[in-house]
Symmetry: C2
Subunit: 243 residues, 2 copies
């Protein structure tokens, strides 16, 4: 069933109205009077609706029932990814949304090649948030992951360290497994941090450990910077019993 | 350290010679006399070598020591992916190689849109195998995954069913988790099968079950066809203790 996100404020009474981009999307899907759709408030509630009227530029929906969207993980995971080159972050945002992440946060590290200025970053951020929204609709999420940028590696470490489970994946770590970190204690929030194409500098890894992150391996094979966060997220969702 | 794959037959005595594409790659890496490299025979053995001579079109390596490459998983996993549109299979081959798959097999299903003729498929296969080889070098694998095509869904089911653990992931399966399949019995070989963009038909899922595959969910979110196999592979590698 097609799914649309509307802000929680848009839900008043027993009808909803799709306008603008949402209306255009509904037209592309050829929705007609009587068709069933799901509208999500982006905070975990789904409304089952029926199209009751289509007029120029707006589609009116009748709310039939509502309930928990049921597709949100019990654990809230934030992916912290050092800003990669090209469109790799777009790829990670799309996939991390499908895989159930609650937020994707990017930040600079010593070996990051991409150094966008503030204006360019603002524009990118807008695009990234749209990718998250679109992936959330397509994968049937109950929530649109938030995409954010942080100005420094130190800021990212500080924020990540505040999660119940905070892990930095490092290709030169051979001993400590992700499993050992996951199984050490129960957690409701998790921060998964990975480096850029050229990897993290050893001093940065020390800095992360000092900040309270656990340094873990993702196995003996070297993963690309865009593969590592998705591998870790998939494994975490498996570990907490999502599938 | 740079890694090159040579056929096991190329290893005779205590020297090795890089020629052709391997030589060109070594030149790009600016390797010089005295530099250390690893040469892998693609069957799980790594040779630690030193560049002893560079002449026009060939680079001669001295073998210093050899041993198990140590980067192969204890479980042999084959990814069976219904032929997707565009370059999605290339993406999956690259990532599945990093994540440790031993083979990637593609085949047609009822809703596959891409229907290449034999000649075009042969050409694609050559390209896919090159992608696997390149990803194997970059991720430090001890083996280059084999990329193969099968002529029918029935042939894919028959082959997949012969693995110790054979799973088909289906978005409408809500009960049986991947974990229950993984934990049911020990296994040395695993087959992970996923459908195309439009999903599998219900009759195809019944056919898979009849062939002996377990039908499992990957969670309550709908994954894109290129995300599902990599999510499953990551989770499996975690489950068997790879990281």
């Amino acid at each position: 069933m097609p799914k649309f996100f509307l802000s929680a404020e848009a839900v008043t009474g027993d009808t909803l109205v799709l306008t603008g981009e949402q209306y255009n999307h509904a037209k592309v899907l050829r929705l007609r009077t009587g068709d069933a759709v799901i509208v999500c408030d982006g905070r975990g509630t789904d409304y089952r609706c029926t199209v009751s009227e289509v007029c120029e530029g707006q589609m009116i929906l009748q709310i039939d029932s509502s309930g928990s969207s049921g597709s949100e993980a019990a654990v809230s995971v934030t992916v912290y990814m050092a800003l990669p080159k090209g469109d790799k972050l777009e790829h990670v945002i799309q996939k991390a949304t499908e895989l159930g992440a609650d937020a994707v946060v990017t930040f600079p590290t010593a070996r990051c090649v991409s150094r966008p200025d503030e204006k360019s970053l603002r524009k990118k951020l807008e695009r990234w948030q749209k990718i998250a929204a679109s992936a959330a609709e397509q994968s049937g999420r109950g929530r649109i992951p938030e995409v954010r940028t942080l100005p420094s590696y130190a800021a990212a470490l500080k924020e990540a360290a505040s999660a119940d489970l905070s892990v930095l994946f490092y290709e030169n770590e051979e001993q400590r497994t992700f499993r050992s970190a996951i199984e050490a204690a129960p957690f409701r929030t998790a921060a998964l941090m990975t480096g850029p194409e050229g990897g993290l500098e050893h001093s940065e890894v020390m800095q992360a450990e000092a900040a309270g992150l656990q340094i873990c391996t993702l196995g003996s094979r070297i993963l690309r910077c865009e593969t590592a966060p998705l591998c870790a997220l998939s494994a975490l969702m498996y570990a907490v019993g999502e599938f």
